[in-house]
């Protein structure tokens, strides 16, 4: 939801920007005068002045409020503001903006900005930002420092009863059942949902469902039961389901396809979100589909529009997932030498693909598969690798420090790459990266660019997924220790799905655009935004 609203915002801000060019010119002239004054005053503090200009230049034009602006202006200084406000500001930090504006309120904020500027570092701006960039093209940047009424995703605000009420109302409107939380939640995670696998959402739907397309119902069930798992698999399955929806879609009379289809998709997306929270890759795919749909011109006939959309989706899958995997495999093969011992964790489709390709090309290496409870996905990876004839060793994650002295490289897959360089992946990845760093073993993360995400996160608590806690129970010698954990009031089970790895543990990220360090993720995002 975050990404979708961000894109909508950028669209609206672009149109607003074009309307204000005349006023901008006036402001530019005023600004020039002020600049001259500042230069005459203090030559030493030239950097301060230019920074101040940058801040004043970067103030938004459209109806800002001073407090909101001052908080957005604080972005470059990286002062941690309270959570809801800092999320929108940090999202727009990457793209520096230069839009001059002068009102009384803005002057006040400018002064505040000057103070901030003394503390702030310069995030790569040019000498005279005010004039040049503003007269340049109006890209997504203008949206960066708008006082954003950014909505936080609902799935990380479970502890807020108002948000829950709103969600319940929305689902009622869309005629989708609300999924209830299950079991005792550990207090550190009371802001997240925790569902039970034994109570899938589909049990609460009437069959046949009139509101939700059957392909989507099936997909939701596959997600919640874990039949379709893994970020690539989920995205591809989602896109296939959307293709089916589009094929079966008939425009109702007096409606435009571009608007109606998007509205049709909304309840499906809520339903899938209830079945299992959407992944970053799915979010990006949905954004793309919605954009393509809204770009269909009203002149287009229905059949034509539908085939166009189907082709777009095909292209997306082919280019972003399949060809990207090929490109990544080609670059990674250079990193795999003969007599290498490679460590992999869990079952990442991309890493498996790389290993298969390398084996086909004749490289001699052996693989150590690390696995962890309760998902035990490593067994699937082990099965696939052994079937190809690759010699493998299998260990549990607690034995990693025992086996690492033999390892020459670690290959990890990613669920998403965040804008501050952190890698979000299956829980346990950060641990492996930590121990590998302690033993000086290089860690390589393989990730397609469609999984790059504009969110930022520093720990694994604020935004995560809680899986069914009953999965942690295990039966040994006929005895299950935690059988009656629900009856004991002070006992909680925590089954995390994701964790974030800090960029200093990761040596290299291999994408289809090349091999980049972790910290270049925002650069790639910027380049992608410009392309689009």
């Amino acid at each position: 939801f975050l990404l979708i609203s961000a894109s909508l915002f950028s669209v609206t801000k672009q149109t607003e920007g074009k309307e204000l060019t005349k006023e901008e010119k006036q402001r530019l002239r005023k600004e020039k005068k002020q600049q001259k004054k500042n230069k005459e005053k203090k030559d030493e503090k030239a950097s301060q002045g230019s920074e101040k200009e940058k801040k004043s230049g970067s103030l938004a034009a459209a109806a800002p409020q001073p407090p909101a602006k001052s908080t957005t202006v604080k972005t470059p200084s990286a002062v941690p503001a309270p959570a809801p406000v800092s999320v929108p500001s940090s999202l727009e930090a990457p793209a520096p903006v230069d839009k001059p504006s002068k009102t009384k309120a803005e002057l006040k904020a400018e002064r505040r900005a000057r103070q901030e500027a003394e503390r702030a570092s310069k995030p790569g701006k040019k000498g005279e930002p005010g004039q040049q960039a503003a007269s340049g093209k109006q890209k997504a940047p203008p949206s960066e420092l708008q006082p954003v009424i950014k909505r936080l995703p609902e799935h990380i605000q479970v502890d807020n009863p108002d948000v829950l009420k709103k969600l319940a109302k929305k689902l009622e409107r869309q005629q989708i059942p609300l999924r209830l939380d299950y079991g005792y939640k550990v207090s550190l995670f009371s802001h997240l949902h925790q569902y039970s696998r034994k109570a899938p959402l589909t049990q609460q739907l009437s069959i046949p469902s009139t509101v939700i397309h059957p392909a989507v119902v099936r997909l939701g069930l596959q997600y919640s039961q874990g039949i379709v798992a893994g970020s690539n698999a989920r995205s591809v399955a989602l896109l296939h389901a959307f293709k089916q929806v589009i094929r079966d879609y008939i425009t109702p009379p007096n409606e435009e396809l571009s608007r109606d289809l998007v509205n049709k998709l909304k309840p499906y997306i809520s339903f899938l979100n209830q079945c299992r929270p959407l992944s970053a890759s799915m979010g990006n795919a949905i954004k793309y589909v919605k954009k393509e749909i809204s770009n269909i011109s009203s002149q287009c006939k229905e059949e034509e529009a539908k085939s166009k959309l189907l082709n777009c989706i095909e292209w997306y899958i082919k280019e972003k997932i399949i060809l990207a995997a090929k490109a990544i495999a080609e670059s990674s093969i250079e990193k795999i030498n003969n007599e290498d011992v490679i460590l992999v964790y869990g079952c990442s489709s991309l890493v498996n693909h790389i290993l298969f390709e390398a084996f086909e090309k004749g490289r001699k290496f052996r693989v150590i598969v690390v696995d962890s409870r309760p998902r035990l996905e490593g067994r699937e990876a082990l099965r696939r690798l052994v079937q190809r004839g690759i010699s493998c060793t299998y260990v549990l994650i607690s034995a990693v420090s025992y086996i690492l002295p033999e390892v020459s490289k670690v290959f990890l897959g990613a669920h998403a790459l965040l804008a501050n360089g952190y890698v979000m992946s299956r829980v346990g990845t950060s641990q492996i990266a930590l121990v590998a760093r302690a033993f000086n073993v290089p860690v390589l993360v393989c990730c397609e660019t469609y999984k790059f995400c504009e969110r930022v996160q520093t720990d694994s608590f604020v935004s995560n997924e809680l899986d069914d806690p009953d999965d942690l129970m295990v039966t040994r010698n006929g005895k299950t220790q935690l059988e009656s954990w629900q009856e004991v009031p002070s006992l909680g089970l925590l089954n995390l799905v994701y964790d974030v790895t800090p960029p200093d543990f990761v040596d290299l990220v291999i994408t289809e655009l090349g091999m980049i360090p972790c910290t270049s993720v925002p650069v790639v995002l910027r380049v992608k935004n410009v392309d689009q």
Partner: protein, 348 residues
């Protein structure tokens, strides 16, 4: 005649103990805590001292060394057996020295003068016969037994000095010492415990149920989530199987990862280990590999599976040792070791 009966009774006891050790090692017998093993070893050694035939301290030491070697061979990973044997040998040496009248300190310190002139303590061959030696040794062993019985309580008594209220404490696997430690603190303070389950045996589950029944807020996490939750943890308190002479640990699988994560977040790592776990020698490459149940058998033949039982944790990652005689830094362990065991007994 009491003699032969005593002897057969003694050998029976020894054989029974050895077979228990062997079964415990292979996982078929009941799992015993190391405190229990230490107590049983010491009791057995006392019985040997009482009932075996010996005339001088040297003879007794020979007998005990021989039995000790057999016992350690039965289960090499259970180091408490060897530790107790060495303690008893040290006791014998001390009692002998006391009987001879020479002061203990002079004997202990190997002065340069002694090393150069006389060739050290090897002249001391313990051949003198002292009548009260047997009684003295048995008395000293009884003291040792009393000490062993009180270790867990002594450690638990120190709990309130280290745990404040509203803390989040992390632990791994199951340690009776740590359990007693935390339960003692929970009587007066409220805090939260996170237990890493420690696959594949998942002993953490037992620990968690036991702690939660004592009213402590407990959470069970999978091993994979150790680093993920470490940022919210205030202290890590663990038990160990053995404490090594350099201050390092040989602890249950997964402890090294836990220690690295704690170091990364600068979280103090506290080890609760009674004195009888200090071991001067441990075979470094003997790391038991136990079986791991893997269901899909058709690929099992083509795959190597490793399941080590113990991890080595270097002393740099450890902040504090809490033992029955108080708290120590890892750099002090070598000194304690030299007080507990005589250097000639390091190699049984």
């Amino acid at each position: 005649m009491p003699g032969p009966y005593k002897e057969t009774d003694l050998t029976e006891r020894v054989e029974a103990f050895l077979s228990d050790l062997k079964r415990g090692g292979s996982g078929t017998g009941p799992l015993r805590g190391s405190a229990e093993t230490a107590r049983e070893t010491t009791a057995l050694l006392r019985k040997i001292t009482a009932q075996a035939r010996w005339s001088s301290a040297g003879d007794l030491m020979e007998i005990i060394r021989k039995e000790g070697r057999r016992m350690t061979a039965a289960q090499p990973s259970e180091t408490t057996v060897g530790n107790m044997v060495r303690r008893v040998l040290k006791i014998i040496r001390e009692e002998y020295a006391r009987s001879r009248g020479s002061s203990e300190e002079a004997d202990q310190q190997e002065s340069l003068h002694k090393l150069l002139t006389s060739g050290g303590l090897s002249e001391e061959n313990f051949r003198h016969h002292f009548a009260p030696l047997k009684a003295n040794v048995i008395e000293a062993i009884n003291e040792l037994l009393t000490e062993l019985e009180g270790t867990t309580d002594n450690i638990a008594m120190q709990a309130l000095e280290h745990i404040h209220s509203n803390e989040v404490i992390m632990t791994i696997g199951r340690s009776r010492t740590v359990e007693a430690f935390l339960k003692d603190a929970a009587r007066k303070r409220k805090f939260h415990v996170i237990v890493a389950e420690c696959a594949p045996f998942c002993q953490g589950h037992e620990m968690a149920t036991s702690l939660s029944k004592a009213g402590i807020e407990t959470t069970v996490i999978a091993d994979a989530a150790i680093f993920a939750v470490m940022s919210r943890v205030n202290k890590v308190i663990i038990g160990t199987q053995t404490v090594l002479a350099n201050g390092g640990l040989r602890a249950v699988n997964g402890t090294h990862t836990l220690a690295l994560a704690a170091k990364h977040h600068s979280t103090p790592l506290i080890v609760c280990a009674p004195m009888f776990k200090l071991s001067p020698q441990v075979s470094r490459y003997h790391n038991l590999l136990l079986s791991l149940q893997v269901k899909s058998c058709e690929i099992l033949s083509k795959v190597n599976v490793h399941c080590p039982v113990f991890d080595y944790v270097p002393p740099e990652l450890i902040t504090l040792f809490i033992s029955n005689i108080g708290g120590h830094a890892p750099s002090y362990i070598y000194r304690l070791m030299s007080e507990l065991y005589h250097p000639e007994d390091h190699e049984l």
